[in-house]
Symmetry: C2
Subunit: 228 residues, 2 copies
């Protein structure tokens, strides 16, 4: 098997195991077992578990970047709801990372640096997106850039932590749970919305329902195809 | 040594080690070593590491409850800033828990239940506090109780995650870092403040500076006393 294909298989197996059991409970050997390769073969690609975690995170960053940088080209409130769903889906896919974030970032300065840089860049993208909404007359933010940054930062923190909160309360990631999280974000943005918040809330919810239902239908189709 | 005194010594040693290295890297034996007791003696008090983690968390809850339930008796904006500092100091003291929260809560259903109940109760206390501020004419919240809950929830999420964010960006827990976190919380509450937000911000900052300086002076005094 080609190098890149083996590496992708290792990363996929690692992601599954980390999500199921947490990184501390998963050894490199177990990852090798899961993808049916030898311990030596795995070590040829990744020297240790930390390298695997870092590579999985790089993959997550790649996926983030693929969507994010064009957001300001679709400056609508509907797209903002779609961005929220996309972020939740990414967190769901890489949930071990969001569960163990503080610990993983403490253990690996290189990962911490990469994460901080990425977060800073995405925060600027989100600010740019908000300013484009403002330019289109959909929102009106305070002129002080530090206040805009605080508002954006708070919505980010809520988004990033929402699935963990569902976990703490033994709740499944249903469409309802997603809508609740978005309600909190809209509550933060509400004082700055130009149009009727009631209508915006309803439209956003329809978008979230549609995207969440669509992606779970895709997941069912994928698992049916895998079963054949 | 009396049973309770030994238990407290074990919990103190565990807290220090967990904060330094994370729970995964700390064995029960290492905790016994740190407090200079035998492995058998430790096991007599706590059957395994999970029990120790649970007991440390119970201790944290005890400290939270000691302060929280009387907050609505001091319904001032100055006290709200003091509550924020108190919460940050608690998180700092039990920082391993806030770093590893998602993982620890997943591993222990009893801990998860206890945490969720405590969070729910404190959220209600915080709502009650906010409504008392409103009754005193200091704030004016939306009449919809779900909206008030969202606002309170968001401020909580920011408070709970602020020190982790400082960590991610390699920043120390300075007074400045605390002020920045509180600025984000005030930004969420700003649309509902009755008085001049500028003045409230300044007064809150003075409170935070005073409390943070006071507690670090106390820490220096404690370590000087311990050194003698």
């Amino acid at each position: 098997m080609a190098t890149r294909a083996t590496q992708l298989r290792i990363l996929q197996a690692a992601l599954e195991l980390f999500n199921e059991h947490g990184t501390a409970a998963v050894s490199s050997n177990r990852i090798a077992d899961r993808c049916g390769i030898s311990k030596g073969n795995l070590q040829y690609h990744f020297g240790n578990k930390r390298e695997i975690i870092y590579a999985v995170f790089q993959q997550a960053i790649g996926e983030m970047d693929a969507g994010w940088y064009r957001d300001h080209l679709a400056p609508t409130l509907e797209h903002m709801a779609a961005m929220f769903v996309r972020q939740l889906q990414l967190i769901l896919k890489y949930r071990f990372f969001y569960r163990e974030m503080a610990d993983l970032l403490r253990q690996d300065p290189q990962l911490r640096k990469r994460f901080a840089d990425n977060r800073e860049r995405r925060m600027r993208d989100l600010e740019r997106f908000m300013l484009t909404l403002q330019a289109r007359g959909l929102m009106r933010f305070p002129p002080d850039p530090r206040r805009l940054r605080s508002i954006v930062d708070v919505t980010w923190i809520v988004n990033e932590n929402w699935l963990n909160y569902m976990d703490y309360h033994d709740r499944q990631v249903t469409v309802e749970a997603m809508l609740e999280g978005y309600a909190e974000i809209l509550e933060v943005l509400r004082p700055y919305l130009c149009a009727d918040p009631q209508q915006i809330t309803q439209e956003s919810y329809l978008t979230i329902e549609r995207l969440a239902t669509q992606s779970s239908a895709e997941a069912v189709a994928r698992s049916a195809a895998a079963g054949n």
